[in-house]
């Protein structure tokens, strides 16, 4: 992922500098008799890079999909400053029979972007896909598909970008480019929240962690404070995280 700054999109331009970019107040969700999310509350500041981690089935994707507006919460509320959050699902949610540019153009039009052509050109440039603009998505590598996936999420220049396991299908080199790009977005004021199973990535590329387990928010803070909290400074972050979950019965 090319780490160049957005040329025309101004992430977070409409959010208020003073208030939080993303707020959840007692958000809860049930699927049948199963509680996927139990009254989760937090605030995320503008430009903050937040990693959402937790064991499988903890409710990470459910929380992100509620924040993205895909599912409404059964109780509580969520609020994203500056309009709808940008959404990057885990699987590339783009049309494989269309070219890169056609995908971007379609979603730019659906997003109601004022100048779709200029936005598409800027996004191709920003994500380093200008030379692949005419290629059918089905012919792209996994890394390039993920670039298009993220580019679609950024088309409307959202103040908040939500990503569900964005690095899951990428090789190490592609991961590094992805994180460089997201770090840059954060530096430019876009609030970025992502879920991941790779706690090492979360340690390296997050200002703050949200730890979910069994639908409950069990920790919020920096990776360093989590390590200190479990008294595992000598261990790696992954070992500290596992001990943290174990101590809390997960």
């Amino acid at each position: 992922m090319a780490a160049s700054p957005p040329a025309t999109a101004q992430p977070g331009a409409t959010s208020t500098a003073a208030g939080p970019a993303l707020v959840a107040r007692g958000a809860g969700k049930r699927f049948g008799s199963r509680h996927a999310l139990r009254g989760v509350s937090f605030e995320i500041a503008r430009g903050e890079l937040v990693a959402l981690i937790g064991p499988n089935g903890a409710g990470k994707t459910t929380l992100l999909s509620i924040l993205a507006g895909i599912h409404p919460p059964d109780k509580g509320s969520v609020d994203a400053a500056g309009g709808p959050a940008g959404w990057v699902p885990q699987e590339a949610a783009i049309y494989s029979k269309l070219s890169v540019a056609e995908n971007l153009r379609l979603f730019a039009r659906l997003e109601g972007v004022p100048d779709p052509e200029a936005t598409v050109a800027a996004m191709l440039d920003q994500t380093g896909l200008a030379d692949r603009a005419g290629d059918e998505v089905s012919r792209l590598s996994g890394g390039n598909r993920q670039r298009v996936n993220i580019a679609v999420g950024l088309l409307a220049a959202p103040a908040v970008l939500l990503l569900d396991e964005p690095s899951a299908s990428l090789d190490p080199r592609q991961r590094e480019r992805l994180w460089a790009f997201l770090d840059t977005l954060g530096e430019q004021g876009t609030t970025v929240m992502y879920s991941t199973h790779d706690v090492g990535e979360a340690e390296r590329h997050a200002d703050r962690l949200l730890v979910l387990a069994d639908g409950e928010l069990v920790y919020t803070g920096t990776p360093g404070s989590l390590t200190r909290e479990v008294g595992a400074s000598g261990l790696g972050f992954e070992a500290a995280f596992v001990r943290f979950l174990h101590e809390r019965g997960h």
Binding site: I70, W87, A93
Partner: protein, 446 residues
Amino acid sequence: MRWLALKDLQILRRSPLLVGLLVVYPVLIALLIGLALSRGPDKPKVAFVNLVPEAASTISLGGETVDASSYANRLFESIEPVRVDTRAEAVDRVRSGDVLGALIVPEDITTKLSSGLESAEVEVIFNNEDPVKGRFVEQIINSRLADANVALSDKFRQIAVEDIELLLEGGELDLFGRTLNILGLRRTGQLLERALASLPAGAPERQALERVRNFASLAVTNLDLAGDILGTVAQPVRVKRTALDGAATPLNSFAVAVAVAISLMFVTMLLASGMLALEREEGAFTRLVRGLVSRTALLAEKVVLAAGCAFAVTLVMLCGIALLVDLEWSRMPLWLAALAAGALAFAALGVAVGGVAREVRAASLLAFLLSLPMAFLALVPSGAVSDGLFSVVRVVSALLPFKPTLDALDSALNAAGGGIGPPLAHLLALTLAFAALGRLALRRFG
């Protein structure tokens, strides 16, 4: 919605093989079914052995000569005769499968028929290796022989009536080369009346003559009815054909309606189900419904696009058929209404299928599996199954769009096809119901 529709068309354009199959396959199926419905089976090949000597090919009945070949020709209207010389050759032909059956006319048939004292007999041989073909040949030959029997019986009756006429009215009769003058019962009665009138009242011959006159009078009265009685005896039951229910739709037009309805069903259902399932398979559904497009609008886009594409394909198909089959072009507004309503109902069913299946392959398979029995059920005629089962078939057919589409197309294509209003209203109701089902299925989509 416009951009989504354009996107779907772009995707379709980039799948020429799929689109080609989607159009060609149902059109081929439809044409095959249409052809099968509009044409009867070909004439079966039947070996024909005529052992009657050429000199004896006529039947002499009551002084009249009848050519037996005129009766054989009636049989040949329904079969393709393969003339062979001997019974053994005929049997070989049947065994080898060259012909489906053999009809052997023995050499004494005309003699027996001429005698009027003994029934003539023909032999039918058929190969029962394929029971369907065997039964088909047997039925055709039996049916045609029955026709020939009726025709011969009619001839016998006609000759008998002529003889009775001669007996009643008198006239000339050729017998063994001699011409005899027959007095006739009616004139006999008149002569007796005159003879009685000339006799004195107490003449001894009078009583005997009066008995003969009364007998002649009674015979005249009863033989007057003989013609009708012989007609009844020759053909006790006649068939009077009256078609009830079901309009007098020409078979060709009905076949066109079936063919078009099948094409419409396949194209619309496969497109609608596939396009909706594709949104989920590509993962775009969750992205779309988070504010870009409502679920209902997405569903409506798929219904309208699939219906529109299928409408265009089947309209072209119908116009093409109309160049070959005699259809009334003036009824085109009704064709359009029937095609549009049918396409919308099939598309609504298609999105319901796509919503349930959630994957393109599964959706296509499910749409295909649903289509065939849906068409089959709608074509089951009453009387082909038990009353109870037919009631079930009717209810199931009414819950699916094929039958009302077929009814609407039948009404649109034929003036005698009944009103188009009820099937159109039926299709509209099904469209709404299946669209609601599809909307419900979208709940578990993302």
